[in-house]
Symmetry: C2
Subunit: 304 residues, 2 copies
């Protein structure tokens, strides 16, 4: 069997739509996945931070992934989040995704205990890979210290790269720190390194990066994809400036409710505003200001 | 049906024994529960931080609780941790515990997203209580900002106390900050307030506290229970000093591996050393030093 090639380009941590009773809206999720691929997204990182993955139950994550694949979204284009604090849950989610033929998985470290040692984190991932025991598995690690607090240390990457060179495929760096991303790019040329924001897309590509995995890919996939398509042309810096302007217009707001408020407008479906607690919807006055700001920044939105 | 009375006294977040293959050792767990009750523990807070609860899978938590109850440990003495980042998982664990007749549940807030608003946290717990919909439920909230990062704000307590006065029963305060515990005691006299360490047991009792829920209750239940039994006698300060000395001897070490290393000696079962990744066992040289330190602090241990 041919192994999945490494992901490249613009990957989107797909926002998860909920009904008023907080149940996932599978039909709206599949529709959004199709729209993102139509707009040029290279991959769909379902069950990321932006997807409220950690607000989904274990069974919900299994069922939603199956539903998306059953609806015809190509599994090879999927990089679902399968991290969990508990090894058995992480193994179950990861084995399930690999078994469905997903192109990769994006894994948070176990994030409950803080200040854990590198050896303990490494042991967690070694157990994970061995217990999943699936040669198809392609592992992308998820470094997001501002939220998970527990990060992905370089020593962990070194050990996994040494033990599982065919399995460890890349890393998403949501540190927001270009120096950290640059170090990853310099030290791990064999890994696909994705900054966690399109603001670092062009810089990343110029240093050997693979693309980006970004929350605002949900609302501006075409604008961000244009940077990737044309990064070696004279238009690159202008396209990057356009994409970054949209990102900055969103960033003053709580990211997930803001992305969902914009999706409500894009898809003409007010239900997209719904988030699961502990997150909260934007106040309507803030939403009006947000939509005005992203429009001013150049994002084209359908009329209300 | 008579409602469960509020917990009082010394509650122990029961350490979870694992076999070498990392599976839970149910028999050793039940044995440890019995020993703790024999030693005077007033309640067993299974699936706490010390229990590595967040390293257990959802199914494991359900099965272990059933096994402990089936083995004859009285459900009324149990206060299992049922918190989870995802509302459906928290509802399932909580409904299950209430259905088994547990005296209460100890709930972490959803701890993945950081900096979430009080309204969102409050919405989470309101949904939880309403979805569980069991009049037997007695809810103890778990404030442990050093690990969960997300705490239990006073406004959340106010709103839950107003909406669910018969359900909200208490709070465990693992802030390690006496001023915070004192504020809880002063402002919520109707709640059972448990400091998260026996070092604050006597101070808490003198200000209306209900007892304590403490990791080192696993290894020194009798010594800590003596403070509770005799807190109004002339011996109280001496007994508190003895208990605190043992705690301090443990505290220089990673708490969970240290507690388990001591339990290996107490129960004469080296398997107790086993932790799940991302935690790590103590080095043997550190273990030797630890056992010597707690013995010097007055804890009586069986010979090796």
């Amino acid at each position: 069997m041919m192994a999945n090639p490494p992901f490249r380009g613009v990957l989107v941590p797909v926002a998860t739509p909920f009904r008023e009773d907080l149940s996932p809206d599978t039909k709206a999720l599949v529709g959004h996945c199709r729209w993102l691929l139509d707009q040029g997204a290279d991959g769909l990182a379902l069950f990321g931070t932006t997807s409220e993955a950690n607000s989904l139950g274990l069974d919900e994550r299994l069922e939603l992934l199956e539903a998306v694949v059953a609806a015809g979204i190509p599994a090879a284009r999927l990089m679902p989040g399968t991290g969990a604090c508990a090894l058995p849950d992480a193994v179950r989610l990861t084995a399930h995704a690999a078994g469905l033929g997903c192109g990769g998985v994006l894994m948070l470290p176990p994030f409950y205990y803080k200040g854990v040692g590198e050896a303990g984190l490494t042991a967690f991932f070694i157990e994970l890979v061995e217990r999943v025991g699936d040669a198809r598995l392609r592992l992308y690690l998820y470094h997001i210290p501002p939220i998970a607090q527990v990060g992905i240390p370089f020593g962990l990457l070194d050990e996994l790269a040494r033990r599982f060179p065919d399995t460890l495929a890349g890393i998403k760096d949501s540190s927001g720190d270009w120096e950290h991303t640059a170090s990853l790019l310099a030290e791990y040329p064999q890994l696909a390194v994705f900054p966690g924001s399109e603001t670092l897309l062009l810089d990343g590509l110029r240093h050997g990066g693979a693309g980006c995995i970004t929350a605002t890919g949900n609302i501006n996939p075409a604008g961000i994809r244009a940077v990737f398509t044309q990064w070696e042309t004279d238009e690159a810096d202008t396209l990057q400036a356009h994409a970054s302007a949209v990102r900055r217009a969103v960033q003053g707001h709580p990211m997930i409710p803001a992305v969902k408020a914009i999706l409500a407008r894009i898809h003409g479906d007010a239900g997209w505003r719904q988030v699961r607690p502990p997150l909260q919807e934007l106040d309507r006055s803030v939403e009006v200001e947000l939509l005005s700001a992203v429009t001013a920044a150049g994002l084209e939105l359908p009329a209300a």
